[in-house]
Assembly symmetry: C2
Homo-oligomer: 313 residues x 2
């Protein structure tokens, strides 16, 4: 058990994908809750979660899982939080904390707020962590380690509840920051949503080409393309919901991106090498800052360069 954290009695996780299962693993390994109740609608996923021993009780019905829970975390796609909240509302315990892990916060608040009963503390949260994998098998202990978790308390949020949730995420290894929901959505539009959209798009473009075969794209992908395929293999349901629920900010960032791309396009067409050189130089600095901030490996090629076998000539 974490030294400076007094555990929750019952933690209910609604949804047990990459994030849900990583929370479960953390809660169990670090003693953050005395009982972990897991719920998901899919019988198969629930059975797998039980097989993996992720929780203490398993429920097809989310309402059953949240009964008597002190902390309820919705780990479902952003498009589903409204319906889930409505479904569990009557079973939420007065004084309990209701949170989520969604990549969009304005829409989350709008969807959940109308259903949250008096006395239940809604504190939306977003752990900035993940991999391109999904499902209960994808979770692991270190996922949140040294990653940021953003809380977006709403007007009138209970301060003790916010502090409790902050301590929970810190116990999972995260650094926690508070932010207004709309600012969160703008920041994530550029750091996460647009990058995913661009990655999905370029992989899609390559997929549809006729002049270059898919097998050529695959063979020569190490020249840059493969980097994009990681984001472009993320969970389609999750990302569909992100774009539908952070529409304005994503479209705004996309408009900026497209303007800048037109500028580069013209520079290439007109053969303006100096302009290209200048753009390509200023972008170098940002990676250095990210590495210095501990958010990225300093190893070349993300450290994946080690060959399959050592040369033994």
């Amino acid at each position: 058990m974490s030294d400076d954290f007094s555990p929750f009695g019952r933690l209910a996780l609604i949804g047990i994908g990459l994030i849900g299962s990583s929370i479960a693993i953390n809660a169990k390994a670090r003693g953050l809750a005395r009982h972990i109740a897991i719920s998901t609608r899919s019988a198969q996923t629930l059975a797998r979660a039980e097989e993996l021993g992720l929780g203490d009780s398993y429920h097809r019905d989310a309402a059953e899982a949240v009964r008597d829970a002190d902390l309820v975390i919705l780990c479902v796609p952003v498009g589903s939080v409204g319906a889930v909240t409505q479904h569990i509302a009557n079973d939420l315990k007065p004084g309990s904390i209701l949170s989520d892990v969604g990549s969009v916060k304005g829409s989350i608040v709008a969807q959940m707020s109308p259903h949250v009963p008096e006395g239940v503390h809604l504190v939306p949260a977003h752990p900035i962590a993940g991999t391109e994998q999904s499902g209960p098998d994808a979770g692991f202990l270190e996922l949140f380690e040294k990653r940021w978790c953003i809380l977006t308390p709403i007007e009138g949020s209970n301060m003790a509840a916010v502090a409790r949730l902050k301590a929970f995420w810190e116990a999972c290894g995260s650094d926690v920051e508070e932010m207004a929901a709309d600012h969160h959505d703008l920041v994530l539009a550029i750091t996460s949503h647009l990058p995913h959209l661009i990655a999905y798009n370029i992989v899609g473009t390559a997929y549809d080409l006729e002049e270059v075969t898919q097998s050529e794209v695959v063979k020569y992908s190490a020249s840059g393309f493969r980097d994009f395929t990681r984001l472009a293999s993320s969970d389609p349901t999750m990302w569909r919901d992100v774009f539908l629920n952070n529409r304005e900010a994503t479209l705004e960032m996309l408009a900026r991106f497209s303007e800048d791309l037109s500028t580069l396009q013209r520079a290439i067409r007109d053969g303006r090498g100096e302009q290209l050189f200048e753009t390509f130089t200023k972008t170098r600095a940002i990676r250095r800052q990210i590495i210095e901030a501990g958010q990225e490996t300093a190893k070349p090629n993300f450290g994946r360069n080690k060959p399959p076998k050592k040369w033994e000539g």
Copy 2:
């Protein structure tokens, strides 16, 4: 020494950045040449190459390095190969092989061909390998291991010379394929040039934002953005030259990309979730194929997930 490779007498490397130094390390470790002559215009870089012990002789003047060389490989930015070829032309040995490592092949052939003396065998080559780092310190033995190297022989290329160069690259660990220069440039436009352009562009967009601070972009970059910063920290001179020298194919692929992006943009604006879901699903398959082809790690997050320190709660 590699079992099935009879070494070159003198190998001259003109330019000693990431690729040049990796070739030098391979040639030395695997005994692919009896003498490695290294040349670069920068006194500082040349001194560093000597400090690293990358070669057997070191030359400020490329013409001096290529004298009596059996294999000459230009490892300079694509925009410089014409001038370098012109400069060394008179000193190239009859019967020797002249090659390069440029990411663009049509322009390379056009730039070099006019200067290549009768009896010297021009065989353009492109090892599809690299990292975001540059300079003589960036090279390493395993860079070409299991990566493709594309040869684009020109009309009338000497077949023995092509076979010799193929064997050289295979001895460095590469799989070798032959291709027409213009097809190479189209394939690389989608697998490498467009990805780099997009990466430079999105990092540039983030750099210029006013609503989101650079420190926020850095902090929350693990949500997707950081993946792009790797390509966007590649050598600016090299990439300026690539775009200026593969203008048509890059602009063509960029046009496709932009069309597809407009389609996605409209789907988001109109809230067409099914269309988004469909696009995001088909792109997943390509990464699986790349992993199966041994061109990418199967580990989530490129394997960089291991936390800085283990949790010891």
